[in-house]
């Protein structure tokens, strides 16, 4: 029985091993992905910093004749926390993907390839779920908007 499982596994790896060209392409991709991840961290940090310096933003807006309501930050702290958390989590999985991909390029170890693709899958799953939530919010906003509009017409 064990022999059969072993044979199956060996056949699978023979069929699914990456070619030299594929390995080279993955190795060349890894640094670009790492840069994207680091840029993601930096963008999130700058965004949060700008958000926390509300008074200064208010002054800039005032120069253009726009008056923002008084308060600590121009956006809600809950929104800032959620946006920051999403930015950091997605950038982390992207960074892990690039790190594991670089490690795989050096070692050609299947464990590293599995870890790399697992992190990539988590990154795209988070992105996909966020996209679904975003679409749901848009649909909800349209329904609420149409509902409010219709109720205003009736009254």
């Amino acid at each position: 029985m064990e022999q059969i499982i072993d044979d199956l596994s060996v056949n699978t790896v023979k069929a699914s091993e990456l070619s030299e060209k594929a390995n080279t392409l993955l190795a060349e991709t890894a640094p670009w992905i790492r840069f994207c991840a680091l840029a993601g961290y930096a963008t999130t940090a700058i965004g949060l910093y700008i958000n926390s310096s509300g008074d200064h933003i208010r002054q800039i807006y005032n120069r253009f004749g726009i008056t923002l309501p008084a308060g600590g930050s121009p956006t809600s702290p809950v929104f800032a926390f959620i946006a920051g958390a999403i930015g950091i989590v997605t950038a982390t999985f992207l960074l892990l993907y690039s790190i594991k991909l670089t490690r795989y390029s050096n070692t050609r170890n299947a464990d590293d390839l599995f870890d790399a693709f697992k992190n990539q899958r988590i990154y795209y799953t988070i992105s996909g779920v966020l996209c679904i939530i975003y679409l749901a919010v848009i649909v909800l906003a349209v329904i609420v908007g149409v509902g409010v509009g219709l109720s205003l017409v009736r009254h």
Partner: protein
């Protein structure tokens, strides 16, 4: 005879290799979904930009900005779609050339995204510097 380390780890390596491909295929499905949503939004943005050309005052200016934005965003969405399609094709045929094509698209996509995110970061940093120089 004692089994060597290579024969001991070979089935595990094979299993991890196969599992890596399972993960890649699952990523491919999400990528395809994201790319299709991206195409739909780009189409809507394109239509909105055309409509804005007929609007008064700043309408045409905003229309041009949206049109340029949708053209810039078209390339990564297309690359993401082709990457997902390549993974799906490899899943069906088992042909390594399809996967190589997919990885080629991933490389182009990541290079483009790195360039765009770098540019965005520079603009953001410029904005912050300007912000405090005010």
């Amino acid at each position: 005879m004692e089994p060597t380390a290579t024969t001991d780890t070979a089935p595990l390596s094979a299993f991890n290799h196969a599992m890596a491909f399972v993960e890649l295929r699952q990523s491919g499905r999400w990528m395809k979904f994201l790319a299709i949503v991206g195409f739909v939004f780009l189409g809507l943005t394109f239509l909105a930009s055309l409509a804005l050309f007929m609007a008064p005052r700043y309408g045409p200016v905003i229309g041009v900005v949206l049109l340029v934005g949708s053209v810039i965003a078209f390339l990564p969405v297309r690359q993401l779609f082709l990457f997902a399609k390549g993974i799906q094709k490899h899943e069906q045929t088992g042909n390594m050339t399809d996967l190589e094509d997919a990885f080629e698209k991933q490389k182009t996509l990541s290079r483009y995204m790195a360039f765009c995110s770098g540019l965005y970061l520079l603009v953001l940093l410029g904005g912050v510097i300007w912000f405090f120089a005010f």
